[in-house]
Assembly symmetry: C2
Homo-oligomer: 341 residues x 2
């Protein structure tokens, strides 16, 4: 039999809404009947699944971008896969595609929800990382909303992560001074030595975070790219420069809390610096992704940008991967390799 003809598929469903940090028991791995692509649909065999911090939000009922995952339904998520059957003229077996396949080995997806991956731009996994959602988040969030100018100081939290590492490198290309915050010495060394950050703060090991920020950002922070929130975010707000721009991409330090994080008001810092704080959603720039992806691919080829993937093997390991990601145990963009090509 060929791969496309096996009659069972696998998926990971949300078994329970977690309270606090998700546990393995909040997920269930199960075998299901192979999905049958309907009219205009395509059956995709998933190769790489992206794990991203936003997924924690979908596990809860709190208001977010999208409705929560239903209990007993497969977790959602962007993935790269290979077309195995197609009921649409745009796709043929063997095509490499990207879309929201969810935490599944196989998915039947409407053709309109899939995009073909241009393999000349890089490894296919890049379609869900540097040349996909996280990459576009960094690109548009920094350039469109943060709008760093040459000489500006850009601070990015979770600086070695998928989005943070790209934010810092893109800011460097534009001539900014770039400072990152990370949670381990290894991540700090990576940002400084491999990504070319001007300075890095290990928030777990720096002593007084305000003193570290004063030292690393003596003229204040012109652009703060917020990925973590919590006390790191609070401290960053205390060091804003005049007319600072804060890009709110995420706040991973708060995702697993059972009650809202409580911290000092940011209003004074926003007011006296005439700063602005902006929530972003990467799909707001969807029509401009192709040009940005091409630019990012060029930077990868020219060596202006490097990118680190942290790959987990097997769909069954996805829950542990997400749990670790939320604890900062990953090092780079977390991907699940679901199957060999």
């Amino acid at each position: 039999v060929v791969k496309s003809e096996i009659d069972t598929a696998e998926e990971v469903v949300l078994a329970a809404r977690p309270s606090g940090a998700p546990k393995e028991r909040d997920f269930e791995f199960r075998k299901v009947a192979m999905p049958e692509p309907g009219h205009g649909q395509v059956l995709v065999r998933v190769l790489y699944l992206s794990l991203d911090p936003y997924m924690r939000g979908r596990m809860s009922e709190a208001k977010s971008y999208a409705p929560p995952v239903k209990i007993g339904s497969a977790m959602g998520g962007g993935a790269v896969g290979e077309v195995v059957r197609s009921n649409h003229k745009r796709f043929s077996p063997g095509d490499i595609v990207i879309g929201d396949m969810g935490w599944r080995s196989h998915a039947a997806v409407p053709a309109a929800a899939l995009r073909r991956v241009d393999e000349s731009q890089g490894p296919i996994s890049y379609a869900v990382s540097v040349l996909g959602m996280p990459g576009m988040t960094a690109y548009f969030g920094l350039l469109e909303v943060g709008q760093p100018k040459a000489g500006d100081t850009v601070l990015v939290s979770a600086a070695s992560g998928a989005v943070g590492s790209l934010v810092g490198q893109i800011a460097k290309i534009g001539g900014s001074r770039v400072v990152g915050t990370v949670g381990t010495p290894e991540k700090a060394a990576y940002c400084r030595d491999e990504l070319g950050f001007d300075d890095v703060i290990d928030y777990r090991d720096c002593g007084d975070l305000d003193a570290a920020l004063s030292k690393a950002c003596p003229g204040g922070i012109d652009v703060y790219f917020e990925n973590v929130g919590g006390p790191t975010g609070d401290a960053a707000m205390r060091h804003l420069a005049l007319r600072a721009r804060v890009v709110v991409c995420g706040f991973i330090a708060e995702y697993n809390l059972t009650e809202s994080y409580v911290g000092p008001s940011h209003l004074r810092h926003i007011l006296v610096n005439r700063a602005s704080v902006h929530g972003i959603l990467v799909t707001d720039w969807l029509d401009r992704w192709p040009g940005a992806i091409a630019r990012m691919a060029a930077w990868l080829k020219s060596g202006h940008i490097s990118f680190k993937e942290d790959t987990i093997n097997g769909l069954e390991a996805a829950p542990a991967g997400l749990i670790g990601l939320l604890e900062g145990k990953n090092f780079g963009k977390v991907l699940v390799k679901v199957a060999e090509r």
Copy 2:
């Protein structure tokens, strides 16, 4: 003797930096020698002094727009006065002028720091209220940063105050649905009955503020004009609509706290709504004040805007006036009538 020839003046100086709410003893009223206008300076006899919430910030050493008032120095503040002597060709005795005269009966001010008051636009006190700094704050903060569209829901806190009452009325002119928060039933009735607000919430008497906001703003808040901060501001953030704009003008509920106000994080609400939060300073639009003042004067004449002044008599009463303002005891724009014209 004519008024300009008396040889003593009066002023109120900062005697001590207050901890928490300012007390009368933090100020000192004193007689001083009549100021002598130097080269290019003008001696002004103050008629109306404006009291504004921002003055609390100047009494502390925390970072703000401007350096703090020095202990032993006169409090600063915008005032309207009459020229009594002039060493500059632009001004003559009898001219009515506006500038930062401070908490003084008489001030020697560089001509460049004064602006002539156009008495055809309204009572001269308007030059430090609806046709001055507070009016311009409402005008530019709302229209330039809040950018309400017809049909938008605009929430303004401290809604019966100098800035808040104008924000609400300007938003009504533009076709927004306007909701205010206030702290007394009288202020609520004023906003509803005299200013034409669509709904008003008395935060001290509404029970659950979230329930009141849900009822008053069923489609969420498109523009929140923040004057108070604290729990009211936190609640407003929980009711933002998609792409909401928050204009941070002040946070009077937090000014008298000895430590930073601590409250729930706003990041989730900013992110999921792709909202933006902006600190403003009215002098950033200084070059455009004349046109805005003319427009506001026209609205006053046409009856589209009404304005309430809360006038205190005598410079000596200024400290009590500011103390009361910070506690919300005023009703309308607080002015000190320092002298008869």
